[in-house]
Symmetry: C2
Subunit: 256 residues, 2 copies
């Protein structure tokens, strides 16, 4: 994706596209800034320095300034950023000025937790429909919503203008659910099932795999342990990778 | 967990560093490869081409080859990667050859879902202890474990050799829990609370914020909508950023 976009005068002169095409990493940090800004607004702060906001969001301030410059937000020297204005700008870019309707498919343990999660409402989302394929679960009420059979998805998705589908089914069911969501026009999917979904061009999938998060932490735990075990920087390695020997055999990168 | 152990000769030659210092993005993809490899192993595949594995893991094959080359795995031309060997190598690097004990703090809706999630056991982790600060919840049994009061954390963490702490408390409680985990020697934390944790150097924190995932999707939804609304490539913008006018005032990047 392109990296810099027109901090100039949006909407004027016809030179600026409707929405900046931001790097994925910047997009991922905007919600952090937004949360920090809302906290500041709630505690009656009208302006914030880049350092103050960067600390609150847990990033370094140079990165923050660069990110925000891509929205056309530069702050004012000696004053900082206008909190309310920056909230507006980020909410606009993230498309949070309308509250998006979310359909949640799969109301097992995780689905229950998601359906009952209060954190969505204040942050631009409304769980508008719950679905499950299990007749035992259909009809159950969670947080004021009745679980419906997944076959009702097409009708309900149209009625509720569903923008985002959340898949919290077992892995084996996830692809079929994704296909159903796509077929009713949903183009953004958050997938909690531990599997890779295949979707057509134009459909965005984000994946949250809880075991993968733990495995990434495990790497760091393992690494810290081996670093501690090393005699000194530059010392000989104590451990080799399994199969390390095999590397010396006649192996090379496989192309196509 | 690991199915095969040390086909090579770990500990010899001393030429391989204890553990490669991999880019974070590579580390994040290794669990995906691992999951795909386990699926292949379960379906009696002994080898896999880089393309086959890349497809199964949802990445492009050039990236996969580069990632795996950093582990010293190059596959064999015309044959591909040895599935069992590659599983060993990735599990070794991720530190999954020992099953890590996880302490979960906060057993509200999300904590319940995490405590009941079957997906951890097969992937290198064991939820070893559950904690909550709420006396009402202490004593409850979830998935065979009794919820204990968070004050018992120091004793239990030592007894169970807790390696990873998972925080599923409200945001307001999360920092205190993180401090408690750090004080008992936990150096890896998975944080589900919607807040930024401050931890000492050497402690790794990964964060899963469900609303943030939705907000990132919302950006893409919004972007797709504005692209659709544009008359043609290069056409004038239809929408302006809020506060766009202010950008023309005397503003500049704030440094310090």
């Amino acid at each position: 994706m392109s990296q810099h976009r027109h901090p100039g005068a949006p909407g004027r002169a016809g030179a600026v596209p409707a929405l900046p095409d931001l790097p994925e990493a910047t997009v991922a940090r905007l919600p952090e800034y937004l949360r920090a800004l809302h906290n500041l607004a709630e505690t009656s702060h009208e302006t914030v320095s880049s350092e103050g906001l960067a600390n609150a969001a847990g990033v370094n301030s140079a990165k923050l300034r660069k990110d925000l410059s891509q929205l056309g937000s530069y702050g004012t020297r000696g004053v900082g950023y206008d909190v309310a204005l920056l909230i507006d700008q980020i909410e606009y870019v993230l498309g949070l000025t309308q509250r998006r309707a979310v359909a949640l498919v799969g109301v097992g343990n995780l689905g229950h937790a998601l359906a009952g999660y209060d954190g969505f409402a204040g942050r631009g989302f409304r769980i508008a429909a719950l679905f499950d394929a299990d007749q035992e679960r259909v009809g159950e009420e969670i947080n004021g919503l009745i679980v419906r059979h997944v076959d009702e998805l097409p009708r309900v998705a149209a009625e509720e203008s569903i923008a985002i589908g959340v898949i919290a089914t077992p892995a084996a069911a996830a692809q079929r659910v994704a296909d159903q969501l796509v077929s009713v026009g949903v183009t953004s999917i958050l997938n909690f099932a531990p599997c890779v979904l295949s979707v057509p061009e134009g459909v965005d999938v984000r994946k949250v795999d809880l075991a993968i998060e733990l495995q990434i932490l495990s790497f760091h735990e393992h690494r810290k342990a081996t670093l501690t075990a090393l005699p000194a920087a530059g010392g000989p390695a104590l451990t080799a990778l399994p199969g390390g020997l095999a590397v010396t055999e006649s192996q090379e990168a496989i192309g196509t």
